[in-house]
């Protein structure tokens, strides 16, 4: 029942996020930008909480519900990165990306029931999904930064951005790895396997490997490969983000996975 108010909450939350972006472009004080961004994220958090109470189960069961968390973590990560870096384009890009996922939820709503299938009634369910979605949000911000860094001509700015991308990728990949490990522990408890090369698992590993390669190449450029251009690892960020999208919902549409995965959202 709570879902019918989603559009209202989404408009309110997006409104505050847009206001924060405009203030950032106008060069208004950082405090006011952060306050409006925080109000936008807070409104979205309130909706998630009310929706959780309404469905009486953790809201991670459908694709639309994971999009809710993605939007919230994206707004949150946007606030944190803007607070530390102060680039005025950060709120705009995070709001745009969050807006895309909010719109998807408005245009293609799921059927929300209180029912949760037996295998999802596990202590591993919430931590597994939260760590994945948090990683997706951080790596999403990393992707936006990489896009900006690839096209900017200012070398100093690019250097600063790459350092931030490194930090975001380290934490994001850490959470992705944690999500995979928690999923493996859960799978062992549910089916007796840690790993089965299910298409979704394969794409999660591909995503992890892309980001691990990024970290490895950045490390190499500091130690044994100083001539390596920074543009190559940045392109890997873009590839990693594409793989992440395939892992999250792309496997639903991938011919190689159709009908084979037990992890696909219904």
């Amino acid at each position: 029942m709570m879902w019918k108010y989603f559009t209202l909450f989404a408009i309110l939350s997006a409104g505050f996020a847009v206001l924060a972006s405009v203030l950032a472009w106008l060069g208004k004080p950082k405090k006011s930008v952060l306050t409006f961004s925080a109000i936008g994220a807070g409104i979205f958090a309130v909706f998630i909480l009310l929706f959780w109470l309404d469905v009486q189960r953790p809201p991670f069961a459908t694709l639309g519900e994971t999009r809710l968390w993605y939007v919230f973590f994206l707004l949150l990560a946007g606030i944190l990165t803007y607070a530390s870096l102060s680039y005025r384009w950060i709120p705009t890009l995070t709001t745009l990306l969050a807006g895309v996922f909010m719109t998807l939820n408005v245009l293609f709503p799921d059927i929300h029931t209180q029912n949760l299938m037996p295998v999802l009634q596990s202590v591993w369910f919430s931590p597994h999904v939260i760590s994945y979605i948090f990683a997706y949000a951080l790596l999403g911000i990393g992707f936006l930064f990489s896009l900006y860094a690839l096209f900017t001509r200012n070398r100093t700015k690019r250097g600063e951005l790459v350092r931030s991308i490194d930090r975001l990728t380290h934490i994001g990949t850490g959470f992705l790895l944690m999500g995979i490990c928690l999923g493996a522990l859960w799978a062992k408890q549910a089916w007796g396997y840690f790993w089965t090369w299910d298409p979704k698992e394969t794409w999660a590993l591909i995503t992890l490997l892309c980001y691990a390669l990024y970290i490895g190449l950045r490390e190499s450029s500091r130690t044994d490969l100083p001539t390596l251009s920074v543009k190559f690892p940045l392109c890997l960020q873009l590839a990693g983000f594409l793989c992440l999208q395939i892992c999250w919902y792309g496997v639903n549409y991938l011919n190689a996975a159709r009908g084979l995965s037990v992890h696909i959202y219904g």
């Binding site: 029912n115 009634q121 790895l177 944690m178 408890q189 840690f194 394969t202 591909i206 044994d224 991938l254």
Partner: protein, 381 residues
């Protein structure tokens, strides 16, 4: 060792060497992710003939993972020697241990199928592959009880020509609230009510397991019948857009029961979705066998198996594998899977190292950052 040999070896444990290994594994995973991995009759498909449809068992995949293990192992040892106070070493060591145990574990993991039915004890299990045959376990299992609980059903309008829920992109559903129906029956609350495509629907009664009966006028009604395989049913009062109310029974149907639905229009019907399983549970009597196989002379205990709750018996784990929820008494068999994974503790150790490493790494980094922020900045000349 000469310096040229050292520099050659260094390539394997350097970050760049590890990157090359990761790239090879990434390629192998991409093949698996982009090409449908399923058995196709030999000779019918080109990709299957060259082994790309069962790539996880291919020599390339195995070699890539072995290469990763060798280079990753050397990288870990090198880091443990040269960067002693670094939590990220634990992450690398954990990943290595996990990959190693999963690879080695897939070779020594044993999985067996066991089919049980109420009242009978069995200790023989069948291997899933054709060559495996039958094995005798050091314990016997007897199925005492098997129970499935369902979520309250959902009603929705379907297009009778296509079978799709309506409206097409935003289907309207009514999730039956069992508590509210109970309160309504006791006269403590109003009936659950919702409008679906202009038809006001009030839920008057909900029977979790019902049998359908025919009245003297040729109509159908439902009565409570708690027998496995029976479908849930609800009695609803439907008020059409023209204002005329009528009472009907709706039932999802099962393999032993016909469904009941209400036609609201020439091309529309109010139906019940197949009920979703809430929980299932098998109660088992476990007998540990003595020296003489087939004689239940050891100790026994009663335990249960359900979703996410495997049963541990010695070094074996018993999982509830499959059940036929709507066949009822036509299929009383319940399938279990008995798994023996000798390397399970090693994999858990790997995961523990990864978790400790991740938490330690984050804390260590934030501490380092705070320290460097606290240090006064020296001015550049």
């Amino acid at each position: 060792m000469t310096s040229s040999k050292t520099s050659f070896l260094k390539r394997f444990y350097s970050p760049f060497g590890l990157c090359l290994c990761l790239f090879v594994v990434l390629l192998a995973c991409l093949v698996q992710g982009l090409i449908r991995q399923e058995e196709v009759p030999f000779g019918e498909d080109f990709l299957s003939r060259i082994g790309l449809r069962s790539f996880k068992d291919s020599a390339f995949m195995l070699s890539a993972l072995l290469l990763l293990l060798v280079c990753g192992g050397m990288f870990c040892v090198h880091r443990f020697i040269h960067r002693t106070r670094c939590f990220s070493n634990l992450i690398y060591a954990g990943i290595w241990l996990t990959v190693f145990s999963l690879l080695a574990g897939s070779a020594c993991l044993k999985r067996y199928n066991m089919t049980l039915w109420k009242g009978y004890a069995r200790w023989q299990v069948e291997s899933p592959d054709e060559r495996g045959g039958v094995k005798e376990l050091p314990f016997a299992l007897q199925l005492m009880d098997f129970r499935i609980d369902y979520h309250a059903p959902t009603l929705f309008m379907v297009d009778t020509r296509t079978g799709l829920p309506l409206p097409e992109r935003h289907p309207q559903t009514l999730n039956v609230n069992a508590k509210q129906v109970e309160a309504y029956r006791a006269g403590k609350a109003d009936a659950q009510e919702q409008t679906i495509l202009g038809h006001k629907v009030r839920v008057l009664e909900y029977l979790p397991l019902a049998a359908i009966q025919e009245d003297s006028l040729g109509g159908y009604f439902c009565v409570p019948a708690p027998i496995a395989g029976n479908s849930p049913a609800v009695e609803v009062e439907i008020t059409d857009p023209d204002g005329s109310p009528h009472r009907e029974w709706i039932c999802a149907g099962s393999k032993i029961q016909i469904p009941l639905f209400v036609r609201t229009d020439t091309n529309q019907a109010l139906c019940m979705a197949k009920p979703q399983v809430k929980r299932y549970n098998a109660t088992l009597q476990v007998y540990s066998l003595g020296e003489g196989r087939g004689r239940l002379e050891g100790q026994s205990r009663i335990d249960s198996v359900g979703a996410n709750r495997p049963l541990r018996v010695g070094r074996y784990r018993v999982y509830l594998k499959s059940y036929k929820e709507d066949y009822g008494f036509w299929d009383p068999y319940v399938s279990f899977e008995v798994v023996k994974d000798p390397l399970e503790p090693v994999t858990y150790t790997g995961f523990a190292l990864i978790f400790v490493g991740l938490v330690g790494h984050i804390l260590q980094n934030s501490l380092r950052r705070r320290k460097s922020a606290a240090q006064p900045k020296t001015e550049q000349p």
